[in-house]
Structures are given as C-alpha cells and as structure tokens.
C-alpha cells in the first residue's frame, strides 16, 4: 500500500518542532512511532501535507521517578515503560496496558506512549480502505452526515480503543501540552471532547510533552478483552485503582473505575467508584455490585462499531471490572503483608 505524498521534516529539538507546528498547524502531523498514523495514511483517512518526525527528539524519551510523581516523556517507547521498575511498582495498570498493545517484540520498540494516548478513535465502518469507503456515502468522521454505527445519529460514534489512556485515567494522570511559548497541564479526565471526530482537546499547534502519574500509595490493575491478544484493539477494557486508608489498611479510601473501548473516550464511572469507599478489601459482594453499577453506567454509551456484538461487549464490562478489582485488592493485601 502506498502512502500519500507529504513533505518530511525532522526538527532537531523540541523548540524546532514547536516552531514547525506553529507554522503548519492543521497541515502537519507529528510522527513518533507511526504504528497508528501511517496505517491511517495508507488507508487514505489522513492526508497531511507535512510530517514532522520526532526521531531526533530524544529529550522526550524518559521515565523519571520523583517523590510524588512519575513523569514519562511522551516519546518513550512502550518497551521502555514495560521494563521500568518504578512504573511496575507504582502504576501497574499502565505497565499491564502497555504490554497488551500490539505484538510484543515488534510494536513495542516503535510504538510510543504519547502516540497510544493520542491515537484517533476507531470504528469498523470508518477504519477501512479507500476502496471500501468509496462505495458508500461518507460518514460523520469522513466528512459526511451519516452514521453507520448508530441509526439516525446526528454525530460521530467512534470508539476510543487506547489501552494506555484507560489505564492512565484510572491512575489519575495529567498531561503536559506545549506549544510555542506556552505550556499547560490538563487532567486526562478533562482531555476528551465527547466528539468522535476530534476526540482530544489538543490544539493543532500543541504537542504532548509529558505524562504525570501521581504516586499515592495505591495499587492498580488493567484487564482487557480482544479477539487476538497480540494484534487486536480491545473490545472492552477496564482500569482500576484502589487506595487503602492510612489508618485502616484493609479499608478502601479511594477507588477509581475506568471502562474503555466502549465510548468516545475512556469512561470514569464516578458512581461505581464511590460505592466502594469505606468497603473492606475482601468484600467481594461490594466489588460485584460496583462492577454491575459500572456496566449500568457504561452500557448506555456503547455502540456496535468495534467488532463482536454489543450484548457480548456489555456483558463483559462487569467481568473486566471485577477481575481488575480483585487483582488490585490482592496486590494491596500482598503489599500490606
């Protein structure tokens, strides 16, 4: 498959990259690992005039452990994150999520965490070849006015299938976005626009520089379901974080349940999460109730557009949440001794 024509630019440092982004804005796309971008370009879904390669920007590839945070550069490869001790220890959900992305030996050396978070939403009516799409009217995401995933939908219902974003939202991560002469930090919770066409709240001249994960004495887990584990995107996934209270180590002080691959963005389920506050770590009934509540809240957003049937995917939501909750509770108990 041929790539469309584009100009290739390779800035030497972050400043150069931001200058180029400020000049080209919408015409430019950033190229990090290319495992998502180049596939989209091959299918004719994207036709950027300029590709700005981040090849020389080694300054964006790091994992730093500070007192209360882990800071990860956006161009850090998935393989580096999986191998990182601090991430395994303090942000297990992210480590697990990165392991699940693509094929172990291949995607992980090229794929980057920034690219994983910023991958565009998917839909099996949209992520098709030029030829397939030429045989029917364009959908919302393709610039038309039809949605093939949901009848009479007035907007795009594409699905965010990022493993990394679901895990990071459970961990309460923040993103640092930079543009020329400007830098801002956003909560990952607030980063999504609820619009399937432009799912991320990032300006065309902005670049994702860093991901900040708070360390707060909590444990986390990530579970997902996919057809072929090595290749496919998740059809349901869940990230969970539990923090025991300082006084009573077997009570849950804070819970965060996030369900991904269901809606336009990973869904933080506040009601299901808060139902676990004050519960004991071995209270499996409470976990089951929270998982059922997670399904009730998340299933309303589900759209039949990423393979498998809608019923099956919704039925699997509580299972993924429950497995993640039990794994997290066990991890806390193990660390308590």
């Amino acid at each position: 498959m041929l790539l469309p024509r584009f100009d290739y630019l390779e800035p030497e440092n972050l400043e150069g990259a931001l200058d180029l982004l400020a000049t080209h804005r919408e015409d430019a796309k950033l190229l990090a690992g290319g495992t998502d971008l180049l596939v989209r370009m091959k299918k004719g879904l994207l036709k950027p005039k300029v590709l700005i390669s981040l090849k020389s920007l080694n300054e964006l590839s790091y994992i730093r452990e500070e007192k209360k945070f882990i800071k990860i550069g956006a161009r850090t490869s998935l393989a580096d994150i999986i191998a990182s001790g601090p991430v395994q220890e303090n942000a297990r959900a992210l480590s697990r999520a990165c392991e699940k992305v693509g094929a172990v030996t291949i995607q992980h050396y090229r794929g980057t965490i920034g690219g994983n978070i910023l991958q565009d939403n998917r839909c099996h009516h949209y992520n098709q070849s030029d030829f397939y799409r030429s045989g029917r009217q364009a959908c919302h995401k393709d610039g038309g006015k039809i949605c093939y995933a949901r009848e009479n939908a007035d907007r795009c219902n594409s699905t965010c299938q990022s493993d990394g974003a679901t895990a990071l939202m459970a961990l309460g991560a923040k993103l640092v976005l930079v543009s020329k002469g400007n830098e801002r930090t956003v909560d990952l919770d607030q980063f999504y626009t609820a619009d399937g066409i432009m799912p991320h709240g990032i300006e065309p001249n902005e670049l994702l520089k860093e991901i900040i994960i708070p360390i707060k004495g909590a444990q986390s887990a990530y579970h997902r379901l996919a057809y072929r584990s090595a290749i496919d995107y998740p059809i349901v996934c869940a990230g969970v974080l539990l923090r025991p209270s300082d006084g009573q180590k077997d009570r849950i002080e804070e819970a965060r349940i996030v369900v991904g691959a269901i809606s336009r963005a990973p869904l933080f389920l506040a009601q299901a999460s808060s139902s676990l506050k004050g519960k004991s770590l071995d209270d499996n009934d409470a976990f089951k109730k929270a998982a059922a509540a997670a399904m009730d809240s998340a299933a309303t957003f589900a759209v039949h557009n990423v393979g498998s049937t809608l019923e099956y995917r919704c039925d699997m939501i509580p299972l993924m949440v429950l497995r993640a909750l039990i794994e997290t509770a066990q991890a806390i108990e193990n660390s308590n001794g």
Binding site: F6, G34, T35, L38, I106
Partner: protein, 165 residues
Amino acid sequence: MEKIRITLNVNGRPHEVMIYPNETLLDVLRDQLDMIGSKESCGEGVCGSCTVHMDGKPVRACLTLAMEARGAQIKTVEGLANGDELSDLQQSFIDHGAVQCGFCTPGMLMTADALLKENPNPDENAIRKALSGNICRCTGYAKIVKAVAHAAQPQDHCCDCNPKE
C-alpha cells in the same frame, strides 16, 4: 515532494539511494536494493512478514519510513546467513519442516533471531509470545515454535535435530 539522497546501512554495508519521503523502508529494500526477502503482506503492521531488525530490534518495515531508518543498522533476512552457510536458526527451520508456503518465514526468522539474541534459551511460552505478532496463514505454528526452540539447543530425542544419514 522531491527525491532525497539518503544512505541506508543494510546488512553491514552502506547503500546510497534516491527516495521520496513517502517511501517505506520495505519499499526501498524490495524495489531499490533488490532485497526481496522481506515480504509485504498486510501492509498495516498486523502480520509481521516484513519484519527487519533496526539496531538489533525487530520492527515492521512496512510501517517505518525509509527516512526514519537513516543512521540505523538494518538487518534483513538476507543478512542472517554467513555467505552460503545458513545460520543455525535457518537450518533448524529447514530440518524441522517449519516452512510451508514460506511467505511468513522471513518475518518469523527475524523475530526469532532477535528473541534468541536476547534470550538464548527461551521456553515455549516465551517463543509463542515473541512470535505472536507474526501470522502464518498455513497455520504451521507447532513446527515453527519447535524449530526456534531447538535452534539454540538441539535435542537428542528429536529426530529432526538428528537426521539419519
């Protein structure tokens, strides 16, 4: 879009080529350098038949721009053998009948080669995990896994490792 002169270091030798920026490493390897060992199958990073090494790590050549491969040490399946002498891994693939139609074989070899460099004595799970990104349409996985396992450690009990003269 203009042609650009770049140098690619493939199998230990520098090659100077004129390319368009939208050409992938696989395009250049196959069309300009005549190294047709690496295959294009899915073209979108799923099947693994285009796997080559960049600085010792297996990557998809179909999703790597040739421009991005400048400065890296690239190794293709042509670089596995030492002249006419096959590598242990290649010989093991032949001995164990791990080649059927052969289209996935270059990718399998490159992925397995990288695995064996990192872990010279992998167990079956490690091999299956490493090869999980390479698809064999003939579904000959059992023999491929066996060939990789026995490549570094020939087994006395295996009749394929000890062919009768």
